[in-house]
């Protein structure tokens, strides 16, 4: 076995993995280690796999990913806080042949956007919702979200979320899974290679189902917010495994219209 140089390995034919062309060259605006970046990437990879760039419309509301349109190399709409499912409803109904997805944070989807989320789901709009649940309002400086865990600290619950006065964390994913118009619901994460692969499969499945007009598909990604949680990325991923996953367990919740959990 002769010695192989780096040059020899770094040949186009040996390429195993590189950033998809469906992400622009702009440096992502996210904090170091933030799951938003990974989530963006796998969504775009799936669209690339489906060869669907020209038929996809993405919709991102406010939240850290408000600038998703700077990174996702597809046609995009920037929605008002909470309203992405309403936009997506119109887009899909007016152009049923397109692939339409929303990319929403937990503050967005589970607080101000509760009605739009529930009703798009209940109507069974034939769209895909990608839901990034980091248990906090990242964008605005780490305020409590509906999904913030009990006793977890945030800037509007500096002494930890008191469930008595601030309510329980809201599992929107489990709620929408109850609705007959919703076809596929899963909860995943993107903090390890294995999880990234699974999540990508889930997104692929969701988009495939959308193409088959099966109804609404919903992919929650439990993610970190290092800045909001005031941890390093590595700490936050660990904290997420230890604290978020027990409350927001990963796995499929509804498959082919049947609750599986």
């Amino acid at each position: 076995m002769s010695e192989i140089t780096k040059e020899q390995i770094r040949q186009p034919e040996n390429l195993v993995y590189t950033k998809t062309k469906l992400l622009t060259d702009k440096a992502l605006s996210y904090c170091p280690g933030c799951g938003h970046g990974t989530a963006h990437r796998i969504v775009m990879e799936v669209i690339e796999e489906l060869n669907a760039q020209s038929e996809t419309i993405g919709i991102a509301p406010v939240g850290c990913s408000v600038l998703a349109y700077e990174f996702m190399n597809i046609d995009m709409q920037q929605a008002a806080h909470g309203r992405a499912p309403a936009l997506a409803t119109a887009v899909k109904r007016l152009m049923p042949e397109k692939l339409v997805f929303t990319y929403q944070g937990d503050g967005d989807l589970a607080a101000i956007g509760t009605a739009e989320t529930i009703h798009a789901c209940n109507r069974g709009e034939n769209i895909t919702i990608i839901f990034i649940n980091n248990g906090i309002y990242g964008m605005t400086g780490g305020q409590m979200a509906p999904t913030t865990l009990p006793n977890m600290k945030a800037s509007t619950c500096p002494y930890g979320r008191d469930v008595v006065t601030m309510g329980n964390p809201l599992k929107m994913t489990e709620l929408v899974a109850q609705l007959p118009g919703v076809r596929y619901v899963t909860r995943q994460s993107v903090h390890t290679p294995g999880n990234v692969r699974k999540t990508k499969k889930a997104i692929r499945k969701a988009f495939d189902m959308q193409k088959e007009n099966k109804g609404l598909t919903f992919v929650e990604i439990v993610s970190n917010c290092n800045s909001g949680w005031k941890m390093t990325p590595i700490q936050s991923n660990k904290w997420m495994e230890e604290n978020m996953f027990p409350f927001y367990p990963l796995g499929d919740i509804k498959v082919d219209g049947q609750l599986v959990k």
Partner: protein, 73 residues
């Protein structure tokens, strides 16, 4: 099992030094540089020849700055 050899290329100016790739690498190929890049981050760099091109690092890198190559030996 055929032996493989891999290599990674990191776009160090875009690396944010989050260290997620380090945790993901099965072969401890990656470490943080002592130096910082233009944005002030200690960036990731490959420190040995153990890479097997599994792409784990690239897959978890939130900033998508790792490119992976692999050849079968």
């Amino acid at each position: 099992m055929a032996k493989v050899k891999g290599d990674i290329v990191i776009d160090i100016e875009k690396c944010k030094g989050c260290e997620v790739c380090i945790t993901a690498c099965p072969n401890d190929v990656i470490a943080m540089a002592k130096n910082v890049n233009g944005k002030g981050y200690h960036y990731a760099e490959s420190i040995n020849e153990e890479c097997i091109g599994c792409a784990n690092c690239a897959i978890v890198c939130p900033d998508g700055v790792i490119t992976v190559y692999k050849i079968k030996l």
